[in-house]
Amino acid sequence: MATKRTIEVELSTTGLGADGKPQRIPLVSGDTGGLALQTPPVLEPELEGEHMLINIGPQHPATHGVLRLVLELDGETVVRCIPHIGYLHCGFEKIGEYRQYNQIIPWTDREDYLNCVGNNIAFALGAEQLFGIEITPRCTVLRVIGMELSRIASHLVWMGTTGIDIGAFTPFLWSFQERENIYNLFEGWVGARLTTSASRVGGMAADIPDGWLDGLKAFVRTFPRTLSECDRMLTRNGVWVGRTVGLGVMNPEEALNYGLSGPMLRASGVDYDVRKDFPYLDYETYDFEVPVGVHGDVYDRYLVRMEEMRQSVRIIEQAIARLPDGPVNVDDPRVILPPKHKATSEMESMIHHFKNVMEGPRPPIGESYVAVEAPKGEKGYYMVSDGTAKPVRWRIRPPSFVNLSAIPKMVEGHLLSDVIAINASIDIVMGEIDR
């Protein structure tokens, strides 16, 4: 073709240049008098024919949120991909600087909103490290149950929506049905299905109600059956295999270099799991397997997540068996509100109650970082305290954000329709990426 040009629909953006370094695409005056965009000159000589820039998102159901992908296409093949984020920015971290530690917990529901209980607990763990609190044995086991339940819920959403993206509708219905069962359990425990706010610094919002464990046992009994049905629908299905094998391959070195974590990293063959390598909540005393893949493609990520759900069920079974009796909250009036009947009848408890609410628990000066294995990868909470009731700074290490950074690398050279599958395989949640 004689003329080489790129159809410009892009405004100002940063992208990767031909040398792999980020560069700013200049915004210059075009001949028409208006502002037009010049593509980076380094790319020009390499491009064959006519390239087209297209947008996927931000309002596209297959981007799993308000992610915008700008794709440069050569025919159907992706030459370059620029992810744009920030459409869901809520300023959680800034808001947190004006809230007491317990008041931040409702905010953690809303970042990775598929893993609410897990976030609540992870934040509480971070704050407890700051306060120097040892939680009770019952609370530890309850937290493990909560974390693994929300891991299953998150992976179920992942499996269902990825199935829909690739064209398998039925597993979506089955996985959401099971997720409803998990949310029923959360509703019975803390009164909310999605925005749970389940933890408090030093304990949980509430102990599990009577009979709740029966519901959990029923779930643990029936869930593996649904899982194996989904497995039978997908794992050996020629269409599913054809649309996932060999896509978005990351080898172990690349995966480590990009800082991937969670199923994304393990699918590439690196057996890094925070529960195994830096145990918290006594995970080292549980008996489970960390599944790893070999090829690092979309199919391996699917297999790893399926196996993780099975292992989570195993962990929950062990947790039910060892759940001790006793108090859930630590016996420390500095951080925990006294029980209601005491607060309304005893003077001392009443004073603690008022002091706790009006002034808030005060940690010593210091900082803490706690990382947990969230469904999407290693999730960290970092908090700095200056001795007042509110953190000077708190920050989230969102696994989706780091995992998303690998998408330009993964989609390069693949077909446009495979971009959807690769993007789905990262399991992103925009609330966590933009915070």
């Binding site: 029923n184 925005t195 195994k276 599944p291 090829h295």
Partner: protein, 165 residues
Amino acid sequence: MAITTRVVDRPVDESSYIRATFQGLALSFKHLVDPHKVTVQYPEEKWDIGPRWRGTHRMLTTEDGTAKCVACGLCPTVCPANCIKLVPGEDAEGNRYPLVFDIDEFRCIFCGYCQEVCPEEAIHLGRHYENAEYERKDFIYDLKRLTSQTHPVCEMWDPADPRGE
């Protein structure tokens, strides 16, 4: 007791189109005739919400119909969404009561902290989820509305549910 690593099986070679199609159809038909129904026919059939459900608020009242609230100011302080407006008043005997107690249900995130901290068990979240109104201003629940609602209240953080205190 140990955490071990295992490489997942990768049954790519066993994949097929025709067998998978029939297997999938068989499973789907099995679910079609499964007597265990999960769909709730919503407007006719109501969802059965649990006793700890956190929904729109209610202010409990004493026997003579006035709000139990003593305007202590704990709930406006703890509310993470800053959606409670409280103006305290004092009667001739020095008893405090709320002159204004508005909750903006639009801003409320139903975290339940207000109920958790209330020393008088006055403000409660309700077991209620059908919240539609015709006008925006109707979502600012004032004291009159809060005390006149009748739906059951959330049992968490209440002596009614000792495990949830």
